[in-house]
Amino acid sequence: MGSRSSHAARIPDVDSIQRETGFSQASLLRLYHRFRALDRNKKGYLSRVDLQEIGALAVNPLGDRIIDSFFPDGSLQLDFPGFVRVLAHFRPVDVEDHGNRDPQEPEPLNSRMNKLRFAFQLYDLDRDGKISRHEMLQVLRLMVGVQVTEEQLESIADRTVQEADEDGDGAVSFLEFTKSLEKMNIEQKMSIRILK
């Protein structure tokens, strides 16, 4: 009866996913329905093409980079746990977490550090832990398209790297990145609230 279930028990490994990501059962259910809706051919997993077909994502200048973040290490199939793991970075921060968190347990995926780390890897393509001037240029080029000349873009990239770079190695490390954004309200700007 019915092709959909309202019960979270339908989702495979729902308990471990819940522990790992911190999403409520209701949110996981909504995301599961979304996953199934995106999986047009009912393969059970998502491929790059499935995400590329989202029109609003295809017009986002960083669309390809965002899709890449779902397929780490050259993988071609995205299963539901992987899907939710990435989206968990954007879960709003729980206020109660800060006090009673067990220091032995790994940091929740939606902590400030992890959100920053996610943004950092959008810049750092080669995953060497630093944003080089070249990588900065590449991201800038994605965001402006053909609207800005190479010289202007290079001067902007140079200026940005110079300001953030503290140890003078010509690249922005993760620590320098976090330092330059320390006043930013990351929790709010990198959070998406799922309706109950």
């Binding site: 279930s5 995106l38 960083l62 965002i66 996610f118 800005v148």
Partner: protein, 456 residues
């Protein structure tokens, strides 16, 4: 076997009598009103009874869920995430402001934090975008006793199951054969009627007969689907020499509109039963059917349509500019072809109530026959049709702007979301021009400031 003989004749005669009674009832209560365009109000009564039953069913399910201490799944058609409708510029400025302690007017060109805007927007679309959800059936807030719309089936009590079983019996064993009989009658009358009218010499009498044959057969088909239609503002009905434009949800839209007005239809020539119907219809009335090869040639299509509308005595053309079936929660981009011709456009908004039966044709999921069977085994098809005042293209508008204006009017009237996306997006990739717009906006922010700086 010999013992069966006396019972045999009894059964046969019983069958004969019941069939005769059934057909007389059919004729009196359904076909006769269809021919004369009147209504006994049986369908409205049926609708009211059903609504009461549905409300009861949903209450019982909520009670069942509460007993087990679970939350009932409530679908959201407007999206599952909370969104802020701010523009690119506003958001990036706000992000920068929250990150730096510098004065507001000292806006720098580029900040490392600018990326957050695009990143978050991208993630939002992955969680919930406007287009993907328009191509699956709308989800209902309360259950309508059809298994196809049930998401909370583990909360059904015994009483509900019995009710559901009764519903299945009524729908499949009583309503379905009735509807198939009616559909059969309607279609055969249409084919025969239009062929016969086609033999008459052209003139007022032929027009008159053709109109009434078409109307009568469409009305029978409307009853074959148990479609309960409410027409609003009938004074704005399309007139000769104009184009009637409506949002598209299913092939049934044609039947719904054509049972209230006499239109010239536009479409592709099909094979099979559809082809037979089309060939018969065109004998009595100048419908515009295109061969498959001609459809690709946009100029040819435009030429034939223009010729048709220029003759002011010709019937209004019925066109669905979206080009594809959408799930009736939104209106997507109208193709500009019909708006370039220069005729008066009569917009029509059609809004279905999915409570009684979802009319949306998901062509990737169901074929035409499966779809029609699903329609005929639903409770009813309930919809509202609004005839909007006619619109013409203004001097400074181009076809695309005119199309968007008409689309907004239809969306507003029907309570649908007005989207700029192309319905063909479900099959094709989106154009790069949209991405360029975003890039232009952002470039203005970072380079525009640079220029100001160099000037001062």
């Amino acid at each position: 076997m010999f013992l069966l003989l006396p019972f045999d004749s009894l059964i046969v005669s019983l069958l004969g009598i019941s069939l005769t009674v059934l057909f007389t009832l059919l004729l009196v209560f359904i076909i006769a009103p269809a021919i004369f365009g009147v209504s006994f109000g049986i369908r409205k009564l049926y609708m009211k009874t059903l609504l009461k039953i549905f409300a009861w069913a949903t209450l019982r399910m909520e009670r069942g869920a509460k007993e087990k201490n679970h939350q009932l799944y409530k679908p959201y058609t407007n999206g599952i995430i909370a969104k802020d409708p701010t523009s690119l510029e506003e958001e990036i400025k706000e992000i920068r402001r929250s990150g730096s302690s510098k004065a507001l007017d000292d806006t720098r060109e580029f900040e490392l934090s600018d990326i957050f805007y695009f990143c978050r927007k991208g993630m939002e679309t992955i969680m919930d975008d406007e287009v993907t959800k328009r191509f699956s059936a709308e989800e209902l807030e309360s259950w309508n006793l059809l298994s196809r719309t049930n998401y909370n089936f583990q909360y059904i009590s015994l009483r509900l199951t019995v009710l559901w079983g009764l519903g299945v019996l009524i729908r499949y064993c009583f309503l379905l054969p009735l509807r198939i009989a009616l559909a059969f009658t309607g279609i055969s009358l249409l084919v025969v009627g239009t062929t016969v009218v086609g033999y008459l010499p052209n003139g007022r009498f032929k027009e008159f007969l053709s109109k009434h044959v078409h109307l009568m057969c469409y009305r029978i088909c409307v009853r074959a689907l148990t479609a309960i239609i409410t027409y609003h503002d009938r004074k704005n009905r399309p007139r000769n020499g104009g184009i009637c434009v409506a949002n598209h949800t299913s092939p049934i839209d044609v039947i719904i509109l054509a049972s209230d007005g006499y239109y010239a239809m536009v479409g592709q020539v099909h094979g099979g039963l559809m082809g037979v119907i089309q060939r018969a219809m065109v004998k009595a009335c100048p419908h515009v059917w295109f061969e498959r090869s001609e459809v690709k040639d946009r100029h040819l299509v435009a030429k034939r349509l223009t010729e048709h509308v220029q003759d002011k005595s010709k019937l209004p053309i019925l066109i669905f500019p979206e080009g594809t079936c959408i799930n009736n929660t939104s209106v997507m981009m109208f193709k500009k072809g019909s708006f370039e011709i220069g005729a008066t456009v009569y917009p029509v908004a059609i809004k279905y109530d999915p409570q009684f039966g979802d009319a949306f044709w998901n062509s990737s999921k169901y074929g035409m026959v499966t779809y029609l069977l699903r329609m005929m085994t639903s409770w009813a098809i309930v919809c509202s049709v609004w005839y909007l005042p006619p619109m013409t293209r203004e001097a400074e508008e181009d076809a695309v702007q005119f199309a968007n204006r008409v689309k907004s009017a239809i969306a507003r009237q029907g309570g649908l979301v007005d989207l700029l996306w192309d319905g063909g997006l479900k099959r094709e990739k989106v154009k790069d021009t949209f991405k360029e717009e975003q890039q232009k906006l952002y470039s203005k922010m970072i380079v525009g400031n640079h220029e100001d700086r160099s000037r001062s």
